[in-house]
Symmetry: C2
Subunit: 183 residues, 2 copies
Amino acid sequence: MNTKELTWKEESRKKVFDSRVFSVYESYCKSPHDELGTFTILDAADWAIIVPVVQTAEGKKFVMVRQWRHGSQTMSLEFPGGVFEPGENPQDAAVRELREETGYKPGSIRKLGEFSPNPAIMANKVHFFLAEDLAAGSQNLDADEFVAVELVSIEAVNKGMGKPPYIHALMGSALALYLQQQR
Amino acid sequence: MNTKELTWKEESRKKVFDSRVFSVYESYCKSPHDELGTFTILDAADWAIIVPVVQTAEGKKFVMVRQWRHGSQTMSLEFPGGVFEPGENPQDAAVRELREETGYKPGSIRKLGEFSPNPAIMANKVHFFLAEDLAAGSQNLDADEFVAVELVSIEAVNKGMGKPPYIHALMGSALALYLQQQR
């Protein structure tokens, strides 16, 4: 089976719902066998997730943020991150979000990779960065943000993934990209 | 800062959009400081992602599926997976989806972990399984599914994550949970 025998072609799409966070489209497509199909697609802004690493007396630690998540209706311990502002460069967004959520300013930052959060239904992308040589500072949160900063050992994060409070799948993706660089 | 100072309380929610794949709700919440906020939440069925491992002459390989993804409008190389049927047990769903998409029937299967795909906005969960001792068989695809099965070395998947064709973030989560078990 070659790639052409797997490829659909979008003929058109129509917006069917809009909110502050995302828009929903119906996508009208033609299958590899020229049959018509309708698929529901969600579009939202791209965002960044930052893996911040600090050296401590007990070795390397991740800077993580504990916060309430409205989708899961639970607490979640995560790498910091946030949505790009219009026209903002991905790396600039990563530095800004890291500073706002944790106060840390990175001396060095580089891209680890890029994913679709869920390419089956979502059109946006999530960009992953490694932030090192961190200088501590103060959080700068929005009025409706309540975020606690914690330093967690790499081993604890690795062991904890897939169980509370490490419930955010995209933090597993971030960890996979961090470990990919450590080999 | 203790956990109570981070916790929101949902007062009510209202459905504002419905489709075959997901529903959208407005959630009306009270902040840790008793201020009101409105958040948009997406609910959909839970699903399973299966990490199938086969022994080959060249060592262990992952069984992966290459398919078109309508959200990203690209090809994607992924672990198999799919949505639970109503009332279906997660492990039964994992075995069924693995068989339908790849033809492989696992001699042993166990849970690796569970995540919210994106707890900021999504209410459903994704369950991860490791499938081993695989017996080959035939695919059983829906009429609108076009899926090519490939055996890929663990090293190639690890190196490729975060770059095409490994564009699906939740496959990075799956890899992190697989590697967590290998230590």
